[in-house]
């Protein structure tokens, strides 16, 4: 692991919110290095500072103190517009609850980040969108609208949208928040596959179910890292197969019960 270059370099980051008269220290001097090709789960209870950390890593917010380098660029020194461009080109967001635009086809949703790409490195937006959709296994759902897709498929469209600009990192905020365990396994299987292709993935979550699929687990509490360890991840594909087998077994049992 240590031979790949660092993608994310956070050092001494503090974030303080002023709410009325009280100061809230969301992050209290945080150091973190994430290297290329990692699959990291950042976990913690609400109020642990994990959302704040995600906002800073995602270029949505500035740290009060400390520095943050993404791909060698010191993000905390950038202006609002440059920050928007960084989000566009270096970060692929996957949000909780999919956040697809309604009445907009899968391909058009996937194309969306390219609309704001000022480098114009990708000429054919639709072709790139279809390629990204194929990567997440939705090559046959290109012109479907979100309401015609299942929850798992919608989240896969969201992942395709995150991938379309070929970002340095994919940043997922509770990506399985509203999904059942089978669909969770489906989505995590996709993340594991993408990670195997070399894409760096950071998942912010509070679900233990997701954490076991990650190669590295970072736990936050009160704005500090209290756990940071590498682990052997479970295979989401195996778990998915097991879940499917169980469900079909149940259906089979129900059927035999009905026929008796």
């Amino acid at each position: 692991m240590s031979e790949t270059p660092p993608v994310i370099l956070v050092s001494g980051v503090r974030k303080t919110y002023i709410m009325g008269k009280t100061k809230v220290h969301a992050l209290q001097g945080l150091d973190l290095t994430i290297r290329q090709g990692e699959l990291v789960a950042i976990m913690g209870h609400s109020g642990s500072g994990k959302s704040t950390l995600m906002n800073i890593i995602g270029g949505l917010d500035y740290p009060t103190e400390g520095s943050y380098f993404l791909d060698g660029i010191e993000v905390n020194k950038l202006g609002k517009n440059e920050l928007a461009d960084i989000r566009n080109q270096k970060i692929g967001f996957v949000f909780q609850g999919f956040n697809l635009l309604a009445r907009t086809s899968a391909a058009e949703n996937t194309e969306l980040p390219l609309l704001y790409d000022r480098t114009n490195r990708i000429k054919n937006h639709r072709k790139a969108a279809i390629k990204a959709l194929e990567k997440v296994g939705l090559g046959d759902r290109v012109d479907h609208f979100p309401n015609e897709l299942s929850g798992g498929q919608q989240q896969r469209v969201a992942i395709a949208r995150a991938l379309v600009t070929e970002p340095s990192i994919v940043l997922a905020d509770e990506p399985t928040g509203n999904l059942d365990s089978r669909t969770t396994a489906e989505v995590m299987q996709l993340f594991q596959e993408l990670n195997e292709q070399g894409i760096t993935i950071i998942i912010v979550t509070h679900e233990g179910d997701v954490v076991r699929y990650a190669k590295r687990v970072i736990e936050l509490r009160d704005g500090r890292i209290i756990r940071d360890e590498f682990q052997e991840p479970d295979s989401a594909a195996d778990n998915l197969a097991k879940l499917i087998a169980e469900q079909e077994g149940e259906i089979l049992e129900e059927k035999t019960a009905d026929s008796l």
Binding site: A84, N88, F95, Y116
Partner: protein
């Protein structure tokens, strides 16, 4: 290229929310439609009045007796009548601009004949009169120069008199009695309609001036001298020249004021035009208020739309939209909606104006200027009232916007 894509995005958003779009545009549609219909009615009235003024006679100058001053006390207009037949002759002989000239004397009297009798005004005029007034005959002929010179007992009836005395037949060749003098009807004048101030121009009869002076009236003052120029452009110069001729004819000394007045139709038509212009402006102003209300409607819906689409804005910003991208998108949406609304309003205005014309018989005129101004104005409304909501959308914090439920 990016702007083009943003226009496409805005277009899609407009199409996706058909009901909202329609409601938003309704204000602008009605506003622009109202402006166009109102201005069309105003312009129509203006052109109708213009036509009526033209009917009074083109290029016409009217000389009337002026105010006389006795020992420093003005006696008011027409207080001292010094117009003479010789004035008219001098003008005919000396003027370079005047095409025709006719002194006019009036006598108000009963005309007996045909169905009964009719009280009207008989004008004693010369052969130039129909040319000056631009007045055609529907039947018969005008009197000629020899009939004028000899004071023949002939008369030409206006349409109103002809209708009242001879409702079912052509009066040409019939006899009428005026102050016990039998006159032969030799012609009937074409209908001219009312003057802008409501006088019936057709309630009149014409006879040679000598006939009126010698046989019909014992009141021989020349009430006015009518003259017309070859071209409407000459009116101003002709007026100056006419004044000089009249002063010479009346032998006025340098220090004496004019004892006559010269007026032209331009002044009259300008006054009437001014009135209708004020009316058009007033109508347009009232209609503009509805356009303003329409604009406020756009702002209202756009503001609601920004709140409703906060999450969408959050997503767009998170995946790299700059504030200016969001601003542009929302601004384009409101401009496109208001321009489309304006275009539909123009169509509605055209339809409404012609419908109004066919229902009420009013004259309505839709001119290109109004249409262009209306569309430009609706685009301006879109920019003006779309800016605040767009600015609000652009200044949202992406973190808050994403968390917005």
């Amino acid at each position: 290229m990016r702007t083009l894509r943003l226009i496409k995005v805005a277009g899609k958003s407009i199409v996706k929310n058909k009901m909202r779009t329609l409601l938003t545009m309704l204000g602008i549609i009605i506003g622009v439609g109202a402006v166009i219909i109102m201005v069309a009615v105003g312009e129509g009235a203006q052109s109708q009045i213009q036509e009526q003024i033209q009917n009074l006679g083109t290029n016409m100058l009217v000389i009337t007796p002026g105010a006389s001053t006795t020992g420093g006390v003005s006696q008011g207009a027409s207080s001292f009548n010094r117009l003479k037949i010789e004035d008219a002759e001098k003008i005919r002989n000396e003027s370079a601009f005047i095409a025709g000239v006719s002194p006019v004397i009036f006598t108000r009297t009963q005309i007996v004949g045909g169905n009964g009798n009719w009280r009207s005004t008989i004008h004693g005029v010369t052969t130039d009169y129909p040319l000056i007034r631009d007045w055609e005959l529907t039947s018969g002929r005008f009197f000629d120069a020899s009939e004028e010179r000899t004071g023949k007992k002939v008369i030409i009836l206006g349409a109103t008199i002809a209708e009242n005395l001879f409702p079912d037949s052509d009066p040409v060749g019939e006899r009428v009695l005026v102050r016990n003098v039998p006159l032969v009807v030799i012609g009937v004048l074409e209908r001219k309609g009312q003057t802008p101030d409501g006088n019936d121009q057709d309630d009149v009869a014409l006879a040679p001036i000598l006939t009126v002076q010698r046989r019909l009236s014992n009141w021989n003052f020349i009430r006015q001298i009518l003259a017309n120029t070859y071209s409407p452009d000459d009116i101003e110069e002709a007026q100056v020249e006419l004044r000089a001729i009249m002063r010479e004819s009346h032998g006025l000394a340098e220090w004496e004021g004019d004892d006559f007045e010269i007026r032209n139709q331009v002044q009259l038509s300008e006054a009437a035009e001014g009135t209708t212009e004020v009316m058009t402006m007033l109508l347009a102003a009232i209609a503009s208020i509805s356009l303003l209300v329409g604009g406020i409607g756009i702002m209202n819906i756009m503001l609601v739309s920004v709140t409703e689409r906060t999450r969408e804005i959050g997503i767009r910003m998170a995946i790299g939209a700059r504030g200016s991208d969001v601003l542009t998108q929302f601004l384009i949406e409101s401009i496109v909606m208001s321009i489309f609304g304006g275009a539909i309003g123009v169509a509605l205005g055209f339809g409404g104006a012609s419908l109004l014309a066919s229902l009420t018989g009013w004259n309505t005129v839709v001119n290109t200027e109004t249409v262009i101004v209306a569309i430009l104005f609706s685009a301006a409304v879109g920019i003006f009232f779309g800016f605040y909501p767009a600015k609000k959308a652009a200044s949202l914090n992406p973190i808050d916007a994403l968390r917005f439920e």
